[in-house]
């Protein structure tokens, strides 16, 4: 037991060295991203219409067989970087536009990732993504931004395949850090949202910030999942997750204790079932997935069982692809229901409280206590088209609905003044301050809208795109959702991005 432990302790070190090396070695223009180097193939072989990360049937087979097709490459690394420019429709209905919409209308170099992995043996391969966010944190005193890097997606797998003309059986085991990162369809929680953008306030309404189906625990946890794919018809996967600490800490590397998701025990299951079919240039998948996470209210205090809340996510998804050069058409549907049961401590603390922020109803009476559980339903549909793996466009619809909860109500009537006010200067002596821009007056999370996108891939490793996200509902209302006059459509956002990989 001693050897693997000490070996694993060196993983962060090795990774750091690799990461530094990758940024120091000049990358010539002939170099190819990692997997392309390994198979010698063009990106379109595995990515539908060249749009990373959506996989083609062949790309799915490549991943399901453990990233082991091809030749082992000598320097198993690749890098990607992105920049963006954002414009939010209305920045005037805010107490502090410079803060609420920081980096609006100014180009930002968002950050990037280093990828490592690929084929390790005939049965083992890996996909490891280490990501740097140039705008990870802001100094509260001088407003300066600080970058931060941390482990992003990790999927290390063992796979084998028994195939002959009458039977095709792939099975494998994945050690990963994010439920569904092991999945090969792009309607899964880990893979549906992919256009990168810096974590700056101006991006709080761009497409990446709109409701996407998620999983219960989020990333930076540790799990193992076993999967099988039979006769290109039936896919099944079952796994369980725990906190990524101890020997699993490399899976949450770069995050401090408070930033690491803390799961209670090892019984946080993930499951996935999908039926697939291919005919001519068409292929379709219809599936279901879900997971349960038991999470600590405060990641730094994991001793109190009464501080554990539980999220159950259950989803349905479907993906259709038509791939026949020069056309690629993809239709995606995803629905995810998430039920959150708050911890015993939270429920007890809420009893008789009314609004946890101290708001009252319009008539001055106490608001209802926060819910002991909440449910949200996220629906997302997307249609995309790519021509010649160069020019593409997509249209996406998102609709989040959910239970109303006074704990969501971040704007409301002040008990002292009977007014809705954010009163940033405290001139009114308010005791309950509503938040502008992000405020939620209704306590309902409902958010709905469309994203229109056009993109261009001048070469296979670069993509330039523009997204326009238009809201018809935000935080439960179309108009005046924050109680201070901000409408859902004020959040409409134009987002340009440039993205390259080597």
């Amino acid at each position: 037991m001693e050897m693997p432990r000490s070996l694993l302790r060196k993983v962060p070190l090795v990774f750091g060295v690799l990461g530094t090396a990758a940024t120091m070695f000049p990358v010539d223009s002939q170099a190819l991203p990692l997997f392309a180097r390994q198979t010698g193939q063009n990106c379109v072989a595995c990515h539908a219409g060249g749009q990373f990360p959506e996989l083609t049937p062949y790309g799915r087979a490549f991943k399901l067989t453990g990233y082991t097709i091809g030749d082992r490459v000598k320097v198993p690394l690749s890098v990607m970087a992105y920049g963006s420019y954002t414009k939010v429709s209305d920045t005037s209905k805010s107490d502090n536009p410079a803060g609420d919409f920081a980096k609006n209308s100014s180009p930002v170099i968002g950050g990037g990732s280093v990828f490592a992995g690929g084929k390790i043996t005939d049965n083992i391969g890996a996909f490891i993504q280490w990501t740097y966010d140039n705008y990870a944190a802001q100094d509260p005193n001088n407003g300066a931004w600080h970058g931060h890097s941390a482990m992003d997606n990790v999927d290390i797998r063992y796979a084998d395949r028994f195939i002959n003309p009458t039977r095709d059986f792939i099975f494998g085991v994945s050690l990963n850090n994010n439920p569904s990162v092991s999945d090969v369809w792009n309607t899964s929680a880990a893979w549906m949202q992919y256009v990168p953008g810096a974590g700056v306030p101006a991006n709080q309404f761009n497409d990446a910030a709109t409701p996407y189906p998620g999983n219960s625990s989020g990333s930076n946890v540790a799990g193992i999942a076993a999967y099988m794919y039979l006769n290109k018809l039936l896919y099944a996967e079952l796994g369980t997750y725990r906190t990524a600490n101890g020997i699993f800490s490399p899976l949450s590397m770069g995050l401090n204790n408070a930033g690491t998701t803390k799961l209670q025990g090892n019984n946080n299951p993930y499951w996935r079932l999908a039926v697939t079919h291919e005919w001519g240039p068409h292929n379709i998948m219809v599936g279901t997935s879900g997971n349960i996470a038991h999470l600590y209210d405060d990641p730094t205090i994991t001793s109190d069982p009464n501080s554990v809340y539980k999220i159950l996510s259950t989803g349905l998804d479907a993906q259709y692809q038509y791939i026949l050069d020069p056309h690629t058409i993809t239709a995606q549907l995803a629905y995810m229901r998430q039920k959150t049961n708050y911890s015993a401590n939270t429920v007890a603390g809420n009893a008789g409280l009314g609004s946890p922020f101290g708001f009252v109803a319009a008539d001055g009476s106490l608001l209802a206590d926060p819910n002991s559980s909440d449910t949200t339903n996220t629906f997302r549909a997307k249609l995309s088209y790519v021509f010649q793996a160069k020019y593409g466009g997509s249209l996406a619809y998102f609709n989040l609905t959910g239970t109303t909860n006074t704990a969501n109500q971040t704007s409301g009537y002040d008990p002292a003044t009977g007014l809705i006010t954010s009163d940033p200067t405290g001139a009114l002596g308010a005791t309950a301050l509503s938040t502008r821009v992000n405020g939620n007056l209704s306590g309902n999370p409902a958010t709905r809208g469309f994203t229109y996108e056009a993109f261009w891939m001048p070469v296979q490793y670069a993509r330039i795109g523009v997204q326009y996200t238009a809201y018809s509902k935000y935080n439960g209302a179309s108009d005046n959702y924050d109680g201070m006059g901000r409408n859902a459509s004020d959040n409409n956002t134009l987002f340009f991005y440039v993205w390259g990989a080597y």
Binding site: N42, A61, I247, G280
Partner: protein, 213 residues
């Protein structure tokens, strides 16, 4: 649970120390991997394990002439065949194949039984049959049958065209016609004589040919 995790990690570490799995390897740089293994583990992903690919993006290889497959794989390996689909998919995969592996792959797929392909509009098929059997005398285009055989079954370096995907065949004819990406073949001249309509007809006929036992 912790034990399971540990066992897995240790297992991965041990396995990572270099054991290979020749009977089910997807390694394309190991000369010891038998051709039948590569065919099933790698080629099958696009061409089908029995050579009857589902997607028209990828040619069917079932019952294809062994000599023709050898020639094409050598062209890919030597980067002499540069049509986009060819280099995007095949250059890398064929890069380290040995002559023996290439021969083995060709034999594997040539031995597979061809399956019928999707039907094509009857009028188009009838027009295509005329072109296939008689060529286009007005333009001095030779009959395809002369080289590709009475049942389009091919012979040695003349490829089998029967039951091949129409879309794939049209794209190849366009490559011959418009580019020099598949050089040094009589097809360059022949394809220049075909209109798009004629290409559609003759390839429609070829896709819909019944299986000849």
């Amino acid at each position: 649970m912790k034990e399971i995790f540990l066992t897995l990690v240790v297992g991965l570490a041990v396995a990572g120390s270099g054991c290979s799995n020749i009977e089910r390897s997807r390694d394309l740089a190991n000369p010891n991997v038998p051709a039948a293994v590569t065919a099933a583990q790698v080629c099958s992903n696009c061409h089908g394990v029995d050579g009857n690919s589902v997607s028209p993006n990828f040619p069917r290889l079932a019952a294809q002439q062994s000599a023709y497959i050898v020639a094409q794989l050598e062209n890919f390996r030597g980067q002499h065949r540069a049509d986009p689909a060819g280099f995007e998919y095949m250059w890398g995969l064929s890069h380290h194949l040995t002559d023996a592996q290439i021969k083995g792959l060709a034999d594997y797929f040539s031995r597979q039984a061809a399956q019928p392909n999707a039907p094509v509009d009857a009028k188009l098929v009838a027009a295509g049959k005329v072109i296939y059997e008689n060529g286009l005398p007005a333009k001095e285009a030779p009959p395809c049958i002369a080289c590709h055989g009475p049942k389009a079954e091919g012979l040695a370096n003349f490829p089998r065209l029967a039951n091949q995907h129409q879309d794939y065949l049209i794209k190849q004819l366009q490559v011959f016609q418009r580019t020099d990406e598949r050089p040094n073949t009589p097809m360059t001249q022949i394809a220049h004589l075909l209109s798009t309509e004629e290409m559609k007809a003759v390839t429609g006929y070829l896709q819909s040919l019944p299986i000849d036992k």
